[in-house]
């Protein structure tokens, strides 16, 4: 038996934990750079706000209606996510952290009343972390996602928990579920399925799995079987190692100068290198890219990228920055307003699977490793920006717009929750 625990409006809930006066009030969270709405509470939804709405379009309305607006605060959300996952992992022998706010639990072999058990989980997660969650229980992962969805919509007599097996008529429910609402069904697939007369989850369940496999592949065949209650998608306890790393961002204001862009890509390269080392990976190549706004047709457009390959896979910050600079020099053109830049590390290997070339001494590799370890330790202990490469701070024009960011309540001594007593 599987379950999926899903945090309710996770980002907004994180904000509410530390600002309880926002409970019951409309809250929205904006994307990087305060671009558009990426999370919103039921109260905000009721006021007509939609996911994806550009902030400048709703700004006036939000003020007028007293909607609380936040820039995204990933330091906070990441820490709160870890807390939730930690509590959840106490309740099941096997868990799969599926995203920042979702976690699959494997309840196989637990001969208990799962609804009561899960209600207890919801209550504990809420008490320990302040985050409200919902849980869907079912014989397959696909159905557990669906049960969770129904629980969130308020269709369960047990509040935040719904066990698929307790539904009076699974057929009626499946018939009312559009294909787009199913886990793993893309928009493109649902259009294709619609075209051959399959319009809802019940029709898909009753379709011929072998035929589905022929037309769409094994993934859809599995979904059909899972809708029938036959588990085909096991729990992945170890997430597959990342194949690539992308750090990129749209800029708060458009950049025209070489130094501004150089500062930005230096930062991206440094972050990417940190990510590599945290996962004990090394990259074989680095791509740097820059682009003007594709939506601004009044100005000349340009985008380009440059890729450097390394003789030896590396995760050394200095080396990545160096190749980012060389790449940028090759592709930078004067006279354009750049809106976005980034670093892509396309091909990753476990660090240590390193073939030294004839000209590298083992000492050099050692020294780089020690230097990077020291850099990471200092930055972890004293805050992300304690030690940086100078080219990162030549310009700060590229920094994100985060007008409404809440403090990093749980990860920074200087920003702890303060209570007046």
């Amino acid at each position: 038996m599987f379950a999926i625990a899903d945090c309710n409006t996770f980002y907004a809930s994180c904000e509410r934990v530390f600002q309880p006066h926002l409970n019951g009030k409309p809250v929205v969270v904006l994307s990087n750079n305060d671009g558009c709405v990426i999370a919103l509470t039921a109260e905000a939804k009721a006021l007509g706000i939609k996911i994806g709405a550009p902030y400048f379009k709703i700004e006036k309305y939000a003020k007028q209606e007293g909607i609380a607006v936040f820039s995204s605060n990933y330091a906070l959300y990441g820490d709160m996510s870890q807390r939730v996952m930690h509590v959840l992992s106490r309740y099941a022998p096997k868990v799969e952290v599926y995203s920042i706010d979702e976690c699959f639990l494997d309840f196989s072999g637990l001969p208990i009343d799962l609804t009561a058990y899960c209600l207890n989980i919801c209550q504990t997660v809420k008490q320990w972390t302040g985050i409200p969650i919902s849980i869907g229980i079912a014989p397959t992962k696909t159905l557990s996602k669906l049960a969770n969805r129904l629980a969130k919509k308020g269709c369960s007599p047990s509040g935040p928990v719904l066990d698929w097996r307790t539904l009076p008529s699974a057929e009626t429910v499946l018939e009312s579920v559009p294909l787009d609402d199913l886990w793993g069904i893309s928009r493109r697939w649902s259009e294709k399925l619609n075209a051959i007369g399959i319009h809802n989850a019940l029709a898909l369940r009753n379709s011929n799995p072998k035929e589905m496999r022929q037309h769409f592949g094994v993934v859809l065949e599995r979904i059909v079987m899972e809708l029938r209650g036959i588990s085909c998608i096991p729990l992945e306890e170890m997430p597959p190692a990342k194949k690539q790393i992308l750090t990129s961002r749209s800029f708060g204001e458009k950049l025209t100068g070489f130094d501004d862009l150089r500062s930005a890509v230096t930062h991206f390269a440094a972050r990417a290198a940190e990510k590599l080392r945290r996962q004990n990976l090394a990259t074989q190549a680095l791509t740097v890219f820059i682009q003007t706004s594709p939506f601004d047709s009044s100005r000349p457009q340009y985008s380009n990228s440059a890729t450097t390959e390394f003789d030896i896979p590396t995760n050394d910050t200095a080396q990545l920055i160096n190749s980012a600079h060389h790449g940028l020099q090759r592709i930078f053109r004067k006279g354009f307003s750049y809106q976005r830049a980034g670093i892509l590390l396309p091909d990753l290997l476990p660090a240590g699977v390193v073939q030294a070339t004839l000209f590298d001494s083992a000492d050099d590799l050692d020294r780089s490793e020690q230097l990077m370890a020291a850099l990471d330790t200092i930055n972890r202990r004293h805050g992300k920006k304690s030690i940086r490469y100078a080219s990162e701070i030549i310009s700060n024009k590229w920094h994100m717009r985060q007008q409404f960011k809440s403090p990093s309540f749980t990860t920074n001594w200087q920003e702890l929750l303060t209570v007046r007593i």
């Binding site: 939730v84 930690h86 320990w128 972390t129 302040g130 702890l416 209570v419």
Partner: protein, 130 residues
């Protein structure tokens, strides 16, 4: 994070140091004072209403949300959406949030008031540096 000491002597040649049998892990404040890391939050206080409980202006509280609030616990409470720190007292006359300073008034939770216990204060960290 738990720091483990390195062994005190090199083993390969000669006899091991007699002290190696007595090595223990270094003392870790986290292990002693943070029993439930997922439920523990640090909170800074501003104000003087809890001075007789040893909570001074500017102190830091270690709040363990997994602890059950009982009568007598010092809690972070949310009253009508506002956070505060007080001693929780439940008795025949009702539920009270008690200050620990005679200059402040006790608060009786009346009908229609919303009280939510955010967490139980497990420890105070008070700096003695001037």
């Amino acid at each position: 994070m738990l720091d483990l000491p390195l062994f005190g002597s090199k083993i390969p040649a000669g006899f091991p140091s007699p002290a190696d049998d007595h090595l223990e892990a270094t003392i870790d404040l986290n292990l002693q004072y943070i029993r439930h890391p997922a439920a523990t939050f640090f909170v800074r206080v501003q104000g003087h209403s809890m001075i007789n409980a040893g909570i001074h202006n500017g102190d830091m509280l270690v709040v363990d949300r997994s602890l059950e609030a009982i009568s007598g616990s010092i809690v972070i409470a949310v009253v009508n959406g506002e956070l505060t720190v007080k001693r929780l007292i439940r008795n025949d006359s009702g539920i009270w949030l008690m200050p620990e300073n005679p200059d402040f008034q006790p608060l009786l939770i009346r009908d229609g008031m919303e009280l939510h216990i955010w967490g139980v204060v497990a420890h105070v960290i008070h700096s003695l540096q001037p």
